[in-house]
Amino acid sequence: MDVGKISEGLKRAGYIPDQGLASALWLAEALQRPLLLEGDAGVGKTSIAAAYAKMETRRLIRLQCYEGLDLQQAVYEWNYSRQLLEIQRSGAGKPSGDRAFDLFDRSFLLERPLLQAISSTQPVVLLIDEIDRADEAFEAFLLEVLADFQITVPELGTITASSIPMVVLTSNGTRELSDALRRRCLYHYVEYPTLSREIEIVKLRLPEAETRLVEEAVAFVHKLRREDLHKVPGIAESLDWVRALHKLDLRGLPDEPELILQTLGCMLKTKNDRWQVAAETVDKLLGGERVGVTTGVAAGLARA
């Protein structure tokens, strides 16, 4: 599959990629390397893996990382209750079936997402979401999986992938990832989409909304992102907001800021941000180019 086909395929799966992302996905598939996606929350990192799985009609296996995540939840766990039952049955003189009784047989193994992905006979898409939230020890464990696509279970030996999964890791940057992990991955930084691409995305997801409404709302969101907000609205927030405006039977953005203020809860998720964007700010954003957009601070914000 070439880059163009990936681009087309992702569009059909509901994700509109830029050229760099399509190239990175193609390369990850061609070189069989994991792809590390970084970017602000809400820019659509997780959706990329989901769309890719849909495009390739592969199963998506997702591992959501969090602090304290350990191997039992991520890789495998022995099914202790079944082992106990088996011991009791054998003690009662009723061994299960004819086979030799082995407590550490594969049938007693509970496969968690990483092992599921490695042992699957069909190629899958493995999404390791928010890897920066996991502990460093877990990150170190991942190195074996990502480099050699194999997992070592002490009681069973090394399990090597029968089909190499497409691995996508995402990070929000709450913690610096180790160089070792980064070097095993290809890297792509997911930016906020350009105005035209975001309009395209919203139209694709909400075909029922008026084109004028979509264009005006997305342009407003782009201006809002330049404000000094604690939590900058992402694409999901844009979609929610346009959906809300569409439910209000609007065909374009209303001129009066009150109606917009009522629905801004779809985008502004902290008290400070809500307080900061008052009627005057909305009025200003509706009115055209923001004052002082070319000054240092605003330029810095736009870059960020």
Partner: protein, 381 residues
């Protein structure tokens, strides 16, 4: 055979000189990507190589400019030409075409080219690049003629002690989260029950939890503008001590901001050369507000929190409008982090920008020589 490999190795060396970590495996992957791309698609080489060589947001942003400067030097404005150097012309489409031809002729697998690359080509690329860096770093580097070799071992130890002392002062902070330990006062019931399954329900292997303690994250921003020339060397030494002892992250800024943590940690003679390379191109006035802004939004991003301390080594003379520094600092304070301003004079001469943002700075600390630095631990708390 050697020419496309030399060109790719030269590009890798060019990236390495700008702080990228591009080793032999990355170069192999670059070659493989170039060979696998259809010839008509050679324009996509840039984005494919970007995915291979970039490792973070900072390198991601700098890559296009470095790519352009290497492969299309004529397009780059204001580039410094080195006199007396002759070099084979570089053309990316030609390189990709040559690689394809070689693959077609020799039937060689992409990975098999590694030995030639490691032994000869990488060296050639580096020597070519070294010459170029020597021509470029001469005029615009604010840290030129700084001799790091004049420091005595005892001075360096004092700096390390200083960093340790600061770390002791700011203390390990209790975290809301807890961690698993082998012995503690509090039994973790859930994990103990889970462990007991393997012993038939008898809790033979109790698990415990303890409150986690972590060092505050320390960020150091060093001003390397002309006005700070005399002190930059001292401050970079301090920054290195903090990086090594307390895992701080260090940045230099002038008109823009760049991270130098990894460069400082490498204790080689090439550190100065590397710093020259990353600060090359700085010119004009000091843009503190823009740099701090970049620090908050791009470099530190989500990592900046109430457990963070930001030490700014600067005289505070800013060419950005004075009110912008206050705006930038308020963003740091908004994340709960504390800012200490270390100025290279005995008394703090507040510039207009600093005067307006005085309330946002936790403390102004004189740091004009080694002796004054020893007072830092007493002031940071």
């Amino acid at each position: 055979m050697a020419q496309p490999l030399h060109a790719v190795a030269g590009f890798a060396a060019h990236l390495r000189d700008h702080g990228f970590q591009v080793g032999i495996p990355e170069q192999q992957a670059m070659l493989e990507a170039a060979m696998r791309l259809p010839l008509a698609d050679h324009a996509r080489v840039e984005s494919c190589w970007r995915a291979i060589v970039c490792a973070n947001q900072d390198s991601w942003r700098r890559y296009p400019e470095l790519f352009e400067r290497y492969w299309y030097p004529k397009r780059a404005r204001g580039s410094v030409r080195t006199s007396g150097m002759t070099r084979r012309s570089r053309s990316l489409p030609d390189v990709v075409r040559d690689l394809h031809q070689e693959m077609a002729q020799g039937g060689q697998k992409p990975g098999a080219t590694s030995l030639g690359l490691a032994d000869g080509a990488a060296g050639a690329g580096e020597s070519e690049n070294r010459n170029k860096a020597m021509g470029g770093a001469s005029s615009a580097d604010p840290l030129a003629k700084r001799d790091f070799g004049e420091w005595l071992q005892s001075d360096l130890q004092r700096l390390n002690q200083l960093a340790e002392e600061v770390a002791r002062r700011v203390r390990m902070r209790l975290m809301r989260r807890r961690e698993w330990v082998s012995r503690s006062q509090t039994v973790d019931l859930r994990r103990t029950l889970r462990n007991s399954l393997r012993y038939g329900g008898v809790p033979l292997a109790p698990a415990y939890r303890r409150a986690r303690r972590e060092l505050p994250k320390i960020y150091i921003l060093v001003d390397v503008s002309r006005s700070m020339e005399m002190y930059a060397q001292l401050f970079l030494r301090v920054a290195r001590a903090f990086c090594e002892v307390v895992e701080a992250r260090a940045f230099v800024f002038h008109t823009r901001l760049m991270e130098i943590t990894e460069l400082l940690k490498k204790r080689t003679d090439r550190v100065q050369e590397k710093i020259n390379a990353v600060t090359f191109g700085f010119g004009g006035g000091t843009r503190i507000a823009t740099s701090v802004n970049d620090f908050v939004h791009a470099q530190a991003r989500a990592a900046l929190s109430g457990r963070s301390i930001v030490l700014v080594f600067s005289d505070g003379y800013d060419t950005d409008p004075p009110e912008e520094l206050a705006a930038s600092l308020s963003r740091i304070k908004g994340r709960g982090a504390r800012v200490y301003w270390l100025h290279p004079s005995q008394r703090s001469h507040l510039s207009t920008a600093l005067a307006r943002s005085q309330h946002l700075v936790q403390g102004f600390i004189p740091a004009h020589n080694l002796e004054s630095l020893e007072k830092i631990p007493g002031l940071v708390h």
